[in-house]
Every structure is written in C-alpha cells, then in structure tokens.
Symmetry: C2
Subunit: 387 residues, 2 copies
C-alpha cells in the first residue's frame, strides 16, 4: 500500500425530499447565489421552482445561468465567470449532473483567478481559490458531486481537459434518488458505465497489498451492475435508484483509490472521442474500456482473473488463467450491451478517420495511464481494436 | 434505504513516517498543545521524542497529560479539563488508541462546558463546542480517530457511557502502520474484534434495500479477518498492519452505517462487562457478539444466512437455512478463538455473580438494540448464554 492522504469534506444529504431545505443549507455560506443548470428539464419537472422557493424563503439573492451541455463548454464557463465577477456572486449552486457540476467548478476557480481559466486545464497554474459550491444532483454518473476534479471542453480545437484540487470539492451534495426517476434508460446506462469506469481506473494498479480497497471496489461494481440492470426495467425503483446514486458517489470520492496508484488511461482515450464526436462520456467508456482491457491484460493476468472471478463470478480455470481473464472482459462487454450501450465505434456510427489525430492529441503531454504506460501508437491500437 | 447525512471531515494522513510532520499539521490550528497519552510505551518506542521534536520545531507550546488507562476514566478527564482551562489549551493531540482519543474528546468538550462533563454521557445536555483535536493512532481498534463518539467510565458506580456529536470528530488522524508493529497479539486480536463488531452493529439491521453498504460491510469484515490471522504469525507484516489499520477506521467512520438503522445492543451489553470487570473491550465483544447472535438470529434468518455465506463462505443449505445461519455464528466464534480471544465468560474467568445487576444497569434507560429490542431479561439471557 502507498502512503496517502484522504480528505473529503463534502457533506452528503441523501434521501427523499432533501432538496426542500436547500435554502437553509446555503444560508450560512452565501448570500448571492448563482443557480447553474443544463437544459429545461429542471423547469419542466418542478425542481427549479422548489429550489427557487426555498432560496427565496431564506431571502437569498438569486442569479441564474442555464444552458450547460454534456461535455461542458469553455465558452459558457467564461460567461459564468463574467457574471460572477459582475454580480459579486459568493456561492454557486449546481443543479444537474457531472457536466453542470464541472462547469460550476470551472466558473468558481475562474472567477478567483486573474488569468485565463483554461490555464488550469493546461496545467499552467495551480488552483488557489474558488467561489464555494454546492450541488443538487439529478444525474448520478460522474461522481463530481464530491470529487476534486472538473472536466471542460474548449471548442477551439475540441480539447477536453481536466483540472483538480481539494479546494473544489463541493461543500455539500444533496442527493434525492427520486429526482432521477425520469432519466431515460440510455442516460442511466451511461451513468452506470461512468461509475464502473471510475472504479476500474483505480482497480487496475500495480501497487501490491491493496486488498481492502480491492474488496470495496469489487463490491461497488457488483452493486452498480446489479441495480443498473433492474433500472432498465423499473426506472422508478427507489431502492435501485438509491443504491446506484450512493455507489456512484463513493466510486469517485477518493476512498477507492486510497493507497493505490490509479490508471486513467481509458478516460484519457475516451475524452478524445467525446471531444471530437460529442458522444456521451459513458457510451464512449463502454467502447474504450473493454478494448483497453484486451490490449493490456497480459501485463497482469492474475488481476484480470481476480476481476473476472470477484465481479462476474467467473469460475477460475486454473489450467488456463488467460481464458478466465478474457472471460471477465467478455462479461463486462456483454453487460454494457445488455444495458443498451455500444461497445464498438461502428455501433456508435463513428468511423476511423480521426483516430490518428486523436491518438496524437491524447498523448501530446506524454504517455497515458499507469497500469501500463501507453504511447501514441498504443492508443491508436486501442482505437483500432474498438472499431 | 433510510435518508441520511454523511459528513466526515477528518483528514487521514496514512503511511510510513507520517508522524514526522505533526508540528506542521497542527501549526495552522493551535498554539498551546496538550499532548495526551497512555502509559510509557510511546516514550520507550521513541515516538514521544519524535513528536515533541516536531512540535518544538514549529515553536508550539507543549503541555502533557499521560496515564490514560483502557476504559478511560472520568477522573483523568476532569484533570485534563482543569489543565486545559488553566493553561488556555487550544489544541489536543491524542497519541494512542481509542481510550486516549476518547479521553481527549471528553476533555475537549468538558473544557468548553460550564457544567459537569458527565452530563454529556448522561444525555442531560448536547455537545455544542470542543477544543479541536488531532490524533496519532498507535492502536487500531476503536475507530475513534474519525468517529463522532467517545466512551468514558465513571469510577463511582463503574458506569461506562458514550456521548457523541459531529463536532468531536478529530481534525486529522495520522496513521502509520509501523507504529503498531509492537502491539502484542492479544491487543491486535482485541482490536480486530472491536473493528468487526463496529461493522456487525451496522450490518444487522431491519432496513431493507441496503445492499451497497452490505457489500462494503462484508468486504471490510473479510479483510479484517484475513489480515488479523496473518498478524498473529507475522506482527511486523506492513501490508497486513496497513490493511487492518485502514479497514478499522472505515469500519467506524460512519460510511458503513449510511442509510441503515444501526443496532449497538452488543456494545451496550459489553460495556457493562468491561466497566465491572475491566476486561478489554475487544475480548468482551468476542464473548458477547456470538451469544447475541445465537439469541436473536431467528428474528431474520436470511440475514444470518447471507452473513455466513458472504463473510465465511459457508455453502448455503437451502433445505435448512437455519443450519447455515448457525454455521456462520459458529465460524465467527471459531475465528475469535483462533486469534486467541475468549468466547465465554468462564474462559475470561468471570463468574455469574454480577449478571443480574449488569442487566439492570444496561437497560436502565430502556431497551438496548434496534435489530431486536432487548429488555433486562433478554440481556440477562445473553449473559447467561455467555457463561
């Protein structure tokens, strides 16, 4: 096990009707509130109205900025920064999923920085402050509600890049599983895949003696697989919505990576895909992850055997461990298909024309991944395996 | 799943040599530091000197109070409170295990309260403030390093009682597994039992649809069982010391109880035992827990079947679920014996003379437990089963 620091200060308020007290939650922290959200769904569902009512009750001053798209855009982040500066916003409430939260995080750090907010995503400077942030989660997937990261896409050149700091963890996350009842199956499936991928990026490590977190990782993945399947048939199953929502948060709150060196190659490879083709991040991961596995499993067959056995209950063939390892990868792919996601680029109607350029971009700052360090050529091979 | 709030702000600094930066850690929080500890072992081991050196390097003013005993005493807590008031202590550093940390927590809340600190333990008043607290953990067991609770024993009448609040979670916990190399096997075994019991108190619940935390609970217990057995033979196995130390913290940091209604009957029943006979808490739990299980398993046989199967890999006998349930309880008892703990009162050389009085005291504020609500008579029956 590696030395580690674990410091997660996000307060989780979980369960039915928890959004009704949002005004009381924010009152001790901020007075001028930017409500940041995506499309019109929160207005149609009545959630927007409930939030505004609760904020007004506490006499908080409300500003708003909607229009966040999946793979959130730098241009809207800059609009948000300008608005925060102009109105001296002192708290940002993100209402939505990972894209909205990531956009809000970027606005928060940009507003406290004199230079160009993209500097953080280019690694040119460190995050030193932010407008404090809270979340009402409506799409469980990204885990951004209690994570230290943000991912934003710069339209000029379609760069999708991440930035991170302990400082940008949300102060709180309000998580009411009922708010996710209306998610279409495709979005639920993409969310589950994103969560599982967050665990897998931590699970595949070269650090020995991390069995406790191995156990937690495996239990988290089993939970997500089981309950995402139930939700495909019963989208209003509260129990399954709740299990998925909480597991998705734990999947990315830092706990499962404690003591481990994490990988993140598949995320880097996928980011190019969703930046260029604007495919949902979860769908992109369903395509990339099994193919990344096929490409690297020989690096540590025993770990893939463990994965196959513990996650998918594949019987271990001690005479042919490689077969067991490959069976686990196959099961993961089948699961993604079962919940309606593509597992190849062709299924997602993406041709091979941009693969060279994407491989180059994915590796322009060096290799990606830690389990196996992948060069431009490796990334291209994984894209080609995914065709 | 029940609604819940999860809010754990303890920063974990985990790994080798982490205690060497204790001065830097405390400097932004306090200036006048009370170093609180137990016997002389931290002086013999050299830990004390390393701590003092680091505090002095940051020019912090140092006070000290040693002498904390297992099942920490109210009288020493009161000494600590007086010292803190007299010297205007603004930070308490607990160096030790659960007893030292609990004693430090009680000192912290007592120093900020005008009345008798025992009021908190009698439930007469709520905790509203504390001197901030940090921990260097040397005995992994109680989980107090990131928990919200404290347990103190009042010598007058030998009452062992708990108090709790989010406010008393330590600011940080420094956890270096190497500091636990010298623990005798008996203490390691007691620690493992305490950890497992913390999980079991959460595991046995009547709340349905808590599968994610079921999975996390089971993985945590499996980890503790496996690595505590290794440590009986290899006390300086870093990997196992690290797994146990981190699992013990997660066992009691609140995560595994999210969405559940917890039980805590066995702890209440054990507290009387260690208050009266001054037996180690872990050893008391090894006696009480399997007997509590025997007494209540019929209340929900399926949950005990799951426990047997998932934790001890007992094959499920579908024609006789009760047999499977009982096999799991037997396996737990055998495990406690294997790591050298008593599983009956007689093994611990405790006779039955005080059982009536203890049962009365354990239930003087009403029933104990939530999985099954136990009255005085039930508690007596469990003590008798334990003879």
């Amino acid at each position: 096990m590696e030395n580690f620091i674990y410091d997660n200060q996000t307060k989780i308020i979980f369960g039915k009707d928890t959004e009704l007290k949002i005004g009381q939650l924010i009152k001790p922290i901020g007075k001028k509130i930017l409500v940041h959200y995506g499309g019109g769904s929160i207005k149609k569902s009545g959630l927007y109205e409930r939030i505004i009512k609760s904020l007004e009750k506490e006499k908080l001053e409300i500003f708003e900025l909607g229009g966040v798209k999946p793979n959130p855009r730098l241009s809207l982040v800059k609009d948000g920064i300008n608005l925060c500066r102009k109105e001296s916003i002192d708290f940002i409430l993100a209402v939505g999923g990972g894209s909205v939260i990531d956009s809000a995080k970027a606005i928060g750090i940009g507003a406290k920085y004199d230079g160009d907010v993209w500097d953080f995503f280019e690694g040119k400077t460190q995050i030193t402050g932010t407008i404090p942030l809270g979340v009402i989660l409506t799409i469980p997937a990204a885990g951004s509600e209690s994570s230290t990261g943000t991912v934003v896409t710069k339209e000029d050149g379609w760069y999708k890049r991440s930035a991170g700091s302990l400082l940008i963890r949300p102060k709180f996350a309000v998580m009411n599983p009922e708010l996710t009842y209306t998610l279409p199956n495709y979005q639920t499936a993409c969310g589950a895949t994103d969560m599982i991928s967050h665990v897998l990026e931590r699970y595949f490590t070269n650090v020995p003696n991390v069995e406790f977190t191995d156990e937690l990782c495996e239990g988290t993945i089993r939970t997500i697989i089981k309950h995402s399947k139930i939700l495909m048939k019963e989208p209003k199953n509260y129990a399954s919505r709740a299990e998925i929502m909480w597991a998705g948060s734990i999947a990315h709150n830092g706990l499962l990576g404690t003591g481990r060196i994490e990988d993140w190659a598949s995320h880097s490879i996928e980011h190019e895909l969703s930046a260029v083709y604007d495919i949902a991040h979860g769908a992109g991961l369903a395509i990339i992850f099994p193919n990344w596995m096929k490409y690297v499993y020989k690096h540590d067959i025993n770990r893939f055997v463990r994965f196959a056995n513990k996650v998918f209950n594949v019987e271990i063939d001690f005479k042919n461990l490689e077969r067991t390892a490959k069976e686990g990868i196959k099961k993961l792919k089948l699961y993604f298909n079962e919940i309606g996601l593509p597992t190849s680029l062709s299924e997602a109607k993406i041709d091979g024309k941009q693969l060279e350029a994407m491989s180059k971009k994915a590796t322009e700052k060096g290799t990606v991944g830690n389990f196996v360090k992948l060069h431009e050529e490796d990334v291209l091979n994984i894209y080609k395996l995914s065709l």
